[in-house]
Symmetry: D3
């Protein structure tokens, strides 16, 4: 089977793409679709504000349009799912957003979803998105770890903050499942889960798993 799913990191940080790529190892099968991770060179260096989201969309649309015939499907690897609805107009092939896939996967792992954001500025946007998905009543809360890009490179510190925030979501908000609200953090998933004691969703892994299923089933838009 020669099919290919392109997993597009819509920011320009190659290190994030590498982290995403590494996280997909368990999903790769000899006779499954190729999982090819791309960095959006023209994208912003990190996506926190709504302006960052908007800046990512035009190059993302170009990338999907250019590769639509070669692809079996796409994954947009940013938790805000930039341009998702527009990309689905560009191609009838599966286009999976990690925000949507991550949140819906969480709904199957617990009743009250807590989301760990990187910065507080993204939270109102995420909340609007949960409203658009119609799942607001399942959200226990979303809290930021409050670390900048440079600080995120320190994995141990990032993990410590995620554990703190995860425990607060669990204890003060009643979360019984957590979603890490950004891409490239899969390596922390199992340790975070162990420390907080509730299931943790890495949205990239969830989304790519969904995309593989969609591609294998050949479910296109009507």
């Amino acid at each position: 089977m020669n099919s290919t799913i392109f997993v597009i990191n819509p920011n320009s940080l190659r290190a994030v793409t590498d982290d995403i790529d590494a996280a997909l190892t368990p999903l790769r099968r000899r006779d499954g679709p190729d999982l090819v991770c791309l960095t959006l060179a023209e994208g912003p260096p990190g996506i926190q504000t709504q302006r960052d989201v908007e800046a990512a969309i035009p190059p993302l649309m170009r990338t999907v349009a250019e590769r639509a015939s070669a692809a079996s499907g796409f994954v947009v690897a940013c938790f805000s799912d930039p341009g998702l609805a527009a990309l689905r107009e560009i191609t009838p092939k599966p286009v999976v957003g990690i925000g949507e896939a991550g949140m819906l996967t969480a709904l199957t792992l617990g009743q009250c979803v807590g989301v760990i954001a990187i910065l507080g500025v993204s939270i109102p946007r995420h909340l609007r998105y949960y409203g658009a998905m119609g799942i607001s009543s399942r959200i226990a809360g979303e809290l930021p770890i409050g670390l900048g890009v440079a600080e995120l490179a320190d994995r141990q510190r990032t993990l410590s903050r995620m554990i703190e925030v995860g425990r607060e979501l669990r204890d003060a908000r009643g979360a019984d499942v957590l979603v890490v609200g950004c891409a490239g953090m899969a390596v922390l998933r199992s340790e975070l889960q162990r420390a907080v004691g509730v299931p943790v969703v890495d949205p990239c892994q969830a989304a790519v798993a969904n995309a593989i299923g969609r591609v294998q089933l050949d479910w296109h838009a009507a």
Copy 2:
């Protein structure tokens, strides 16, 4: 008072801008803010698909950034409110979207809001937006008139279809207030209201009225 509110038509059709401009006459006051309507020359020729929405956002962001210091406030005159959250990051001055303002105004005029869309392709996007606003339970339904750009130029035909669709929203869905889900149709508002017998909201007029209030009160983002 020399303040100016820029009302930006994010599509490139100057005729639509002219219709919007004419509709603002009752809101102009000698000592109120100037209401200046702009056509987004780089915008798409009509906004129906999500791709149209995305195409409007970059030039819209540039326009707002360029005029931010000269402006007292902005109105985005497309019912899908392209880029609204991003524009609000560009300037702390009031930025009002006609979709948001039109729908919230409707909530004060009836209990069950019916929306008249131009084409069916826009409806899922609008429904996502109502979900993001958290007002889905107030929506009686949204139905399209199904006319293309050329046909919309025929005002009488457009009005007839709006009356048909408005009556269906009233009778089969229980709507007791209607919103015209696009810009540039204010001239039809009162005749539509008379024919259907429920209040009708023109979202541009609603939005500009809100913007004037915000500007006069000098309510900026915190």
Copy 3:
């Protein structure tokens, strides 16, 4: 233009009416509608309980009925919007409630609305109202400052408590916009906004701005 909007304070405290009147200065235009504030002499001396609300309604209905032909529109200046639906049956002219207008305005300034109440006894009533409006999912929380009428006269103390409660709504409940859930406090608005760092809505100003727009557009009930 000789049109008049009557802004009715449904409690009998003239000092509150004076505070409301002062807050409308930025909304007055030479060729805009006259903004005339009235005290409901027969109203209760403050509206906290549901009985207070009910006590205000009959004189309010009489006042609106008596002035309906002279008026271009009305604003009910109590956050519980006493009698709003009944008043809208008395006249097809715009009748704006500060509770409804204040809350809907807040929806455009943030994603999670925090409300500062005067006394806790009003909160269940307000929550029922947000439910009736269909906007409960947008409410971060509502908390009281717990000051009686006499204490409210101490502006500095009132402001201090509002800042405390506003910060709690922001930090513990995630509010990113605040509404002051009573009339006559506009003078504290900008200082409160500065201290808490999120937009603050004065519902009277929001409502009168809406009413002016409605009157200028001549949007009556169908």
Copy 4:
């Protein structure tokens, strides 16, 4: 046991009170509370508009205040539950509204509640109330029979219209339980249920049954 529950018909039509009284026969027990039906002589002659609702509240409040010490509890026998929250401030004894009790009882008899209203003018008010109760997602729809007071006296015609509307709620809206949205119609309940084939709630009977339970358990407000 000498306790008394007063069932107050808030309109001035004695015939309605008599119909309510007759409907309570199955709920009367020798050693249960007395069920005493009252006509609100000062009430409006029928409650359809919001003004009718408001007109009923002051005399209702007086009646409850006067009888509070003699009563074990009260039932407000109008589907719009006029003044319910205020009456509950007057006395800590059980005050049951037939709208609230009827709707909540329906939630236990089916998944999708259809409501049969008398006139369309009441429907927006009822919908606001369902929103305030937080049960809007359980409502299949509400439709009016469209008969005036004189026509309602024709029981056969009223029943025919209720059956028509009930079937429409069942077939076009998916209702699997019906509520008769007014007082005094209990005599039609079982025939309507038989004809439509889904459970039918008479809200007066539901409310009085609830009130008896509350009184026997001696559950007062805290």
Copy 5:
């Protein structure tokens, strides 16, 4: 009147059944239905997990089937309402669940319902149930007292923990009415209400009162 309502404790603890039985005294009337409490000998010894719920259902179905002809109605006396929908298919006679009846009764006694659970493991199941009922927006929160079966036998300790949890629900979550989320605790109800200062619902008493009303009205499924 020889009618009988069977109140079935679906766990095998006879002491719980005895507590339920004692709590029904105020609801017994000489000419009312007999209230007969049964212990489900084949049921699990306490219902905390979903497996406990499932274990109770087959014997519960058998019990209701066996007694359906002799009964006038049934009450399922476990807050998770095991098998409620299936039991309602077995007999058209009233089958009342204490979870459903307790929660709906609470909606009439306050605006924000707090629930006191025994163990945390039950809470996600309860939250799913509130969602199925469509009342999630009325729930302030649910917190566990965290006592095992042995510890529950210590009434004073149980009451102390309930008061602590009830105060937390009131102060940190805004609850203005409480439901005790299990059967057999009615004896603590009034003391808990006094200590917390908001109305407290014992769900068994609420459910049996409802069942009596349904039986006396002879309201069967259609």
Copy 6:
């Protein structure tokens, strides 16, 4: 890789199991998990009523308990997800229900989900489930094809009815994605999609795809 996912048909009809098995072909990979379909011999012959659901749960729990150590994961192949929460207590390994997975997958393929049920009796149960999932606002409607087990064997007739019902959901209810609300119908999926012109979800395929992802990622409950 020797892992195995057991896909359990909880009714006793081997033909349904065979249809499910055939539908999984596109999801099988040489180095992916084995997909083994089982018929629940002790299950009911078809699951329509709530009693059918309850009858399936005990043997389903036994089957999962017996195979838990040999399995990598389970799929419950009945749209009502019998016993799902209890099964998840039996094993920390992934247990996927086709109802939950099918509905959540649909949320990614359209905004307004229409569900095609077999018989009307199942619909209230499904609606309760959507409420428990917190996704009611995304449901356009659910309608039955009304065919019994014998009639379902006639594939052409079944397809015809599904197309009729699918078009009604699309045209009268606004559905832009459809879910076939039962197992064993995957063979009709693409023809139904073509005929109605909106994406169609086969819930078994969606669920097994999810389970494969979960198993490959080794995401267990915490």
